[in-house]
């Protein structure tokens, strides 16, 4: 689950990581007071969950109140669904560092990633061979110790005068990471201000979905999703991605669904949505098909090869769903696994053509979509 910058910064502040003075505004009428409370110049940062806001021109700087108001109006007017804007004091920046904490699945440790070169180019830097990027591994059971933080501090060449501030930031960030069950916490850029203060310039955070039950403080709202349908699917517990093509996928298992996606693209087709109708959801054909219908597809393609999921149960569910939802678009089925002969009969009886080969099903769906 993604956490907004302003939420991450609230957590930072609570845990002793310095952040710029800021306030959140949601409509023009709130601006005036904020621009009085916070001394200018300002930075206006739309609270959205997609990356590279800066490169997209969505971060505005303002020296005057007029410029700030104009900037905010521009952001609200972009049509990119911007609601909340974080108004921050502009920090006089001497240097930008990079700091994040994530999991190393191989080492089975948390890893602190630090670089003396923060900012938007960190990913290029990462791909170019990890030069100037420092990794410090932390055993989750042992936790962070001051020496871990010092190693990263000296490792990226910080001056002695900044070490203790930096160590405190790294330690606090680790504690946030650990206590939030995060998959990632990132401060990029981490400012060193003209006055020699270390300040979090940004805050990115992803909390593990499987751990949300231990975090009632994180409200799962529609705001956290790029698309309303994805939010709806999440609430229903169905893995779902909204795309913009013709064929709605309703397949069993992440691997098989991804494979069907590949085959569609290989064969010149396009995908309307990615949806996993399998695992614990194999009895929920109606809920799955409802989502597929909302994606405005030309064809619904059902491909399964059940493990726990019984083919006959899935086929029955699909038939029921069709009866109830009466989709206008054709439904292509390729349902296999335990009791697949029975499934075949069920589908035939309902007037569907039970295919047995995944590629054949894909080709059929593309043909139907191109009709």
């Amino acid at each position: 689950m993604r956490i907004f910058e302003y939420e991450a910064k609230e957590l930072f502040k609570k845990n002793g990581i310095p952040v710029p003075v800021s306030a959140l505004v949601e409509e023009p009428s709130e601006l005036e007071k904020v621009l009085i409370d916070i001394p200018g110049p300002w930075v206006l940062k739309p609270q959205v969950l997609f990356g590279a806001r800066g490169k997209a021109g969505l971060i505005k700087f303002a020296d005057s109140k007029e410029a700030a108001v104009t900037g905010a109006e521009e952001l609200w007017g972009t049509g990119r669904g911007i609601k909340k804007i974080l108004i921050e004091e502009k920090i006089q920046v001497q240097r930008e560092l990079y700091l994040s904490i994530t999991i190393d699945p191989g080492k089975a440790c948390a890893v602190i990633i630090a670089s003396a070169q923060g900012g938007t180019d960190i990913e290029t830097l990462a791909v170019s061979g990890k030069k100037d990027i420092l990794c410090e591994y932390i055993d989750l059971d042992i936790g962070i110790m001051p020496f871990n933080a010092r190693k990263t501090a000296y490792g990226i060449g910080l001056d002695n005068g900044l070490i203790s501030q930096y160590v405190s930031v790294v330690t606090s960030l680790y504690n946030i990471f650990e206590e939030s069950d995060a998959g990632l916490v990132e401060i990029n850029p981490l400012f060193i201000s003209g006055g020699g203060r270390i300040v979090a310039g940004d805050g990115k955070m992803i909390v593990d979905d499987f751990s949300l039950y231990r975090h009632p403080e994180i409200a799962v709202t529609g705001e956290r999703f790029e698309d309303d349908l994805e939010y709806e699917a999440f609430q229903k517990g169905i893995p779902y991605l909204k795309l913009n093509g013709d064929i709605a996928l309703m397949c069993a298992g992440a691997g098989l669904t991804t494979t069907v996606y590949d085959l569609i693209v290989d064969n010149g087709g396009t995908v309307a949505n990615y949806l996993e109708f399998g695992g614990p959801n194999y009895t929920r054909a109606t809920a799955a098909m409802e989502l597929c219908l909302k994606s405005l597809s030309k064809v619904i393609l059902i491909v399964t090869f059940g493990t726990i999921a019984r083919a006959d149960v899935m086929a029955e569910g699909v038939v029921k769903a069709i009866k109830k939802l009466k989709p206008k678009q054709p439904v292509v089925t390729c349902i296999r696994g335990t009791n697949e002969e029975k499934a075949e009969q069920i589908l035939k009886k309902a007037g569907l053509i039970p295919l047995k080969d995944t590629e054949e099903a894909v080709r059929t769906a593309i043909e139907l979509a191109n009709c």
Partner: protein
């Protein structure tokens, strides 16, 4: 003698009294798995499918020698159950649960590494040696998939594994041992840790890897090949070649950012290391034949 589990492996079932536990215990037994005890706190003294149930793993282990533990335990309790098994000295553990909290999964794998134990999963169907034994829930009755033979299979997926394995069987092969490492971000065991077992396994002549975008497990397998630590014929299928960047497609681990962990990268790494990579499931059988031919020629040259 197959990998991880065989007819003789003494298995306990943690969570045996639950609905899933009962159902699959019955199937595992039917298939031939040697289940020696069950564990559910508070249900000690009961019997399930003719198997004695104990309150704790250590009690079960005190009653009978145990080689492996199969967990049918909800994700929130997996960490506790895995540590209980390791605490009792069990070195082979399979957990099928989907939804294990990330930091729990990290702690589980770390503890297993530190103690020389092997945890398979979570979010997997488990381990099966067709015709012998299984730990997990495989529809072993589907003959066109779970046919005994000499192809080892390592996979991150469930349904896709059936799809691919069916192609392997269609081409005339059978399966020695199939291990699902699971689809989570931090599986207990990784591809590169399993390949050496297959290398040493007499019943495995070749291996098929079923991977997908995200993570680095396929790249690690390629490194192992390059280092000469796995020399049997290897065929791979990697899902997600066409996945849109930045989208979280596939399993939990399969998020691709900044060009890292793409299917294309994985395919290149495996090909560079000498593996044959199938563009689609249907040709996996064909590639297996090719790989075995190449191997035969090589051994004839060397022989």
């Amino acid at each position: 003698m197959s990998i991880f589990i065989d007819k003789g492996t003494a298995v306990i079932i943690q969570g045996i009294t639950g609905k899933e536990g009962r159902f699959w215990t019955s199937h595992m037994k039917d298939m031939g798995t040697r289940i020696v005890a069950g564990v559910t706190p508070g249900k000690g003294g009961q019997r399930v499918e003719g198997i004695d149930v104990f309150n704790t793993v250590s009690k079960a282990c005190a009653e009978t020698p145990v080689d492996a533990s199969m967990l049918f335990v909800p994700p929130r309790f997996v960490r506790d159950a895995v540590f209980e098994a390791m605490d009792a000295g069990i070195k082979k553990i399979v957990t099928v649960a989907e939804g294990i909290p990330l930091h729990d999964a990290v702690r589980i794998r770390k503890a297993a590494l530190d103690r020389g134990a092997m945890v398979i999963g979570g979010n997997t169907s488990g381990v099966i040696s067709p015709g012998k034994a299984m730990m997990g829930f495989f529809p072993y009755w589907i003959e066109r998939v779970y046919r005994p033979g000499n192809v080892g299979i390592i996979t991150r997926s469930g349904s896709l594994t059936n799809e691919v394995t069916a192609m392997v069987v269609k081409a005339g092969f059978g399966v020695s041992t199939l291990i699902g490492v699971g689809g989570d971000t931090v599986p207990g065991t990784r591809f590169a840790e399993l390949l050496p077992l297959y290398q040493n396994d007499r019943e495995t002549r070749s291996v098929v890897i079923i991977g997908e975008l995200g993570g680095t497990m396929e790249e690690e397998a390629a490194e192992l090949l390059t280092a000469g630590k796995f020399s049997k014929p290897l065929v791979a299928f990697i899902a997600g070649r066409n996945a849109p960047q930045g989208k979280k497609m596939g399993h939990a681990g399969a998020i691709v950012t900044g060009g890292k962990g793409t299917a294309s990268e994985k395919i290149k790494a495996l090909r560079d290391a000498g593996a044959l990579v199938a563009e689609k499931p249907v040709i996996v059988g064909e590639l297996l034949k090719q790989a075995l031919k190449i191997q035969n020629k090589r051994s004839q040259r060397n022989g």
